[in-house]
């Protein structure tokens, strides 16, 4: 929580806050936009991956001779085609191409490039792999048992002093908090403690991973594909392939959804290795089943949460223990979960402990506010039970305990200006909250927190000869960010929105940019665009001063033009951006601004949700009849796309709450690797989602922007759970709350009650 104060404008916006049509829209409604799988190259081969049918096995041998001999096969790669890498990419290398062991069903262990897909498929069948099948574990609670099969025999829990003397599946322990929780619980009039479980959910982007690699015989290479971060892809692939970063140029295609799932590499280094070996471009696309089996879903979890309150409803202590199953390799997501656990509350005594647990499942990837929705399900469920126990309105309960400016967050820093209280109040005042819930339906509320991030950012802004402007960004646009980029540049330069276009530059055209994740793009790009525009404006004012032969400080920039200002400035006609651009060749050359920054000062955000649900008492089916999101945007640059983030996050959370989950058989294989059985919400499953934007400016951004992309997925699991509790009288401590689970809970309550 830095003390950076960049805030320079909070009112009188002309372009920011309006809802113009996105610049890339026309290509997306006409089918012309080119996504990951839409590229071709001369002489292109098709690459396919051979994947493990076993959840855990030692690779005794791989025999590719027969496959290589098949007519039309141009290259086969295995782990032996990749050298060793630094610790940073150790797990990535092994996930991309298994060596020694396969760690989950779907783990890649060889790949083929052939003249077409049919030949490549045939070749995969001819690769002979000798496996020594090992015992496996996919359940988080079984994975932490002392006699559980070890995913990694050399894993000793990090973060425990002294270091354990035996290996286990627990990769790391992390702890956050302050005060004395035992003392706090001693002061409590009421304590509720409960355990919760959640299943893994997949990001569910509609576009499967796809890329096209072209490795030249001089050691240079180009890569095209769908990714949230093409600089990260470049740097990772360069190391995995053992080539200089400058020799690999990565172009980000349009991207058909990511939600965190396209922040790592899967096919990209394999396609490059195949292309290098075959001497031809290689295109690879993933099947939907492989997306489910081999790309990162979230953690599954087992959690215990305990909260104590006074009879007036003030929390005296809060304690949580989180076990997150992160797949075959160590993640950091229980740590993030532990940090977020109690971030909504101003607490004197708080502790959260997270454990990262390995299992024979795909390597976990980030999914929208990674780690936060899971623990929020547990914490916000208990908060709901506490409010019920003392007969207090659940929003009033949260208002009584809400974190405010000056409170120490449970994860460490002291909060600056934050918008949780305002979001809770706005939820309370929302027509949804005062409308009576329909007969037989139940209402639930919950709150959620996410950090939001900034990070390494590089922007180039060019003023063209006619005074129009091109902004080059290095972050793939997943949800309309080009529109926001254009709005910010237009606002700062005082020119019409339509005079600015934003593009996503390739990795060789612009310096490094952190990935489009962490809700950073509009925040961090925004800072850099504003600074780049201000630099261009300063240059244009200096040129006007020179033309007018007046001091530079006697020129101001207003409404897209340089104007003389002040007593001694003289009387000159304003020079517009087009005038200055048109004469640039006589005044010093092209006009441009650029800015490079490690953008700190991202503002945390809070989201408060209200849901009405109906529960079919005979089948246990939960349906959502009304849903409202209230969230702090700091400043909404393009309100349509901010609402879209709120609505999309809520819909994903609703899906996770009610239906989405990874189901493994006793054989350690995923039972539902397709959209039919991994049941994401469809249009007929959802109501309209009311999105209420509130704006509490973040001082770390010139216009007050906070990230908006992630926070909305944090509250829905608990919001739905609390609504189900209202509708049925039963607490379902498990996600997804699929019909059999809900039915069992209802019937269990009948039997015991």
């Amino acid at each position: 929580m830095s003390g950076i104060d960049r805030l320079s404008k909070t009112s009188d916006f002309k372009v920011v806050g309006t809802r113009p049509i996105r610049p890339d829209g026309i290509e997306k409604v006409t089918g012309r936009a080119r996504f990951g799988a839409d590229a071709v190259a001369p002489g292109m081969l098709i690459g396919l991956v051979l994947r493990s049918p076993h959840p855990h096995a030692r690779i005794v041998s791989i025999d590719t001779a027969e496959a290589e001999a098949l007519q039309g096969v141009k290259a086969i790669v295995t782990a032996s085609d990749f050298g060793e890498v630094s610790q940073l990419h150790h797990d990535t290398l092994r996930n991309v191409m298994a060596r020694d062991k396969v760690l989950y069903e779907g783990h890649a262990l060889a790949a083929v490039a052939a003249i077409d897909k049919a030949v490549a498929k045939q070749a995969l069948k001819l690769i002979k792999v000798d496996y020594e099948v090992l015992p496996h574990v996919t359940d988080v609670e079984k994975a932490i048992e002392p006699d559980a099969p070890l995913v990694n025999e050399n894993l000793f829990t990090d973060g425990i002093d002294p270091k354990p003397d035996k290996p286990s599946n627990i990769a790391a322990r992390s702890q956050f908090g302050h005060g004395d929780v035992e003392e706090g619980f001693a002061k409590a009039d009421l304590i509720i403690e409960k355990s919760f479980k959640t299943e893994a959910a997949h990001q569910g982007y509609i576009e499967p991973h796809a890329c096209l690699a072209s490795f030249n015989s001089d050691g240079s290479a180009e890569l095209w594909g769908c990714t949230q971060g093409h600089y990260l892809v470049r740097d990772t692939c360069a190391e995995l392939l053992g080539i200089d970063v400058s020799r690999l140029r990565v172009t980000a295609s349009e991207i058909g959804g990511g939600f965190g799932g396209k922040t790592v590499v899967y096919l990209e280094p394999v396609a490059l290795a195949l292309s290098r070996k075959a001497g031809h471009p290689v295109k690879m696309t993933m099947s939907r089943a492989d997306v489910f089996k081999a790309t990162g879903p979230t953690a599954s979890s087992s959690m215990r949460v305990k909260i104590g309150i006074t009879k007036e409803g003030r929390i005296t202590a809060a304690d949580a223990e989180l076990y997150y199953q992160t797949g075959a390799y160590a993640g950091i997501f229980s740590q993030l979960g532990a940090m977020c656990a109690f971030a909504c509350y101003g607490l004197e005594n708080v502790r959260s402990v997270g454990y990262e647990v390995l299992a024979n499942r795909p390597m976990q990837a980030a999914y929208r506010a990674p780690g936060a929705p899971i623990i929020a399900f547990a914490v916000e469920s208990i908060v709901d039970e506490l409010a019920r126990a003392i007969d207090m309105d659940p929003l009033d309960f949260r208002l009584k305990n809400a974190a405010k400016k000056g409170d120490r967050a449970s994860y460490g820093p002291v909060y600056p200006e934050i918008g949780l209280v305002q979001a809770l109040q706005a939820a309370k005042e929302h027509p949804h909250y005062s409308a009576p819930a329909a007969a037989n339906s139940g209402r639930g509320v919950a709150a959620g927190f996410w950090f939001n991030f900034g990070g390494l950012t590089c922007i180039s802004l060019n003023v063209n000869i006619d005074g129009t402007v091109t902004v080059s960004s290095g972050r793939p646009d997943i949800g309309g960010s080009r529109a926001s980029m254009c709005q910010i540049a237009a606002e700062e330069l005082g020119v019409p929105y339509d005079n600015v276009r934003a593009i996503i530059a390739d990795t060789s055209s612009l310096g490094f940019n952190d990935t489009t994740d962490g809700s950073r793009t509009t925040f961090a790009n925004g800072i850099a665009i504003i600074e780049a525009a201000r630099s261009a404006i300063a240059d244009m004012c200096a040129r006007a001063a020179k033309i007018w032969s007046i001091p530079e400080d006697a020129v101001v920039w207003e409404n897209g033009a340089a104007r003389p200002s002040g007593a001694n400035a003289g009387d000159f006609e304003p020079m517009t951006i087009a005038d200055l651009a048109g004469s640039a060749h006589k005044t010093g050359g092209p006009i441009a601004g650029h800015h490079e920054v490690n953008a700190e000062g991202a503002g945390v955000s809070f989201s408060v949700h209200i849901a009405d649900v109906d529960v079919d008492q005979e089948t246990g089916r939960v349906s959502v009849s009304r849903y409202t999101v209230v969230q702090d945007a700091g400043k909404a640059i393009h309100p349509d796309y901010v609402e879209g983030q709120y609505q999309g996050g809520a819909a994903q959370g609703i899906g996770w709450a009610i239906n989405e989950g990874y189901f493994y058989g006793e054989d350690g294989k995923l039972q539902n690797p397709g959209f039919l059985d991994y049941r994401m919400p469809v249009a007929s499953d959802l109501p309209m989602i009311d999105a209420k934007i509130i704006e509490i400016p973040n001082k770390g951004h010139p216009y007050g922007v906070r990230g908006v992309g992630e926070t909305a997925i944090v509250p829905p699991l608990a919001t739905i759970g609390n609504a189900v509790r209202s509708a049925t009288g039963v607490r379902v401590p498990e996600v997804p709350m699929a019909p059999p689970v809900v039915l069992q809970a209802i019937e269990g309550a009948k039997e015991s009650g």
Binding site: G25, K28, V29, T30, G257, G644, A683, D685
Partner: protein, 158 residues
Amino acid sequence: MTSVHVTTTINGDPAEFLCRPEETLLDVLRDRLGLTGTKEGCGSGDCGACSVMVDGRVVCSCLVLGAEAEGREIGTIEGMAEGDELHPLQQKFLEHAALQCGICTPGFLIAARALLEKNPDPTETEVRYWLAGNLCRCTGYDKIIRAVLDTAAEMRAS
């Protein structure tokens, strides 16, 4: 390996191609004819990203063989605008911000146009059920449904 020779009509124009008997219409459109506006999301008919029209019906082109296009009228997203003029649905999708990433958009537009041709005055529920075969992971459907309802109202008024 014997290929099949297929003569068909795509977006009103005559077309012919050779394909293998097992190739899907989706693969033919994308890989043989360069019509990549039709997207593959699942290959199993569950996501609707590959929706096209075959003789006036919305179908998942991943579930139709290329050879089945023989003698049919195929309609894809590339044929939806008339020259420079967007179909009202395309325009309303832009105005309502009914797309975020845009990968599902062609399929939604194809399916929504078929709905409005059949039912110019659908209720919200009818729109939701008609489009239940098209997955969108970004928007929560809210702005898509509004765009379709608004288009229907505007088309009825004109």
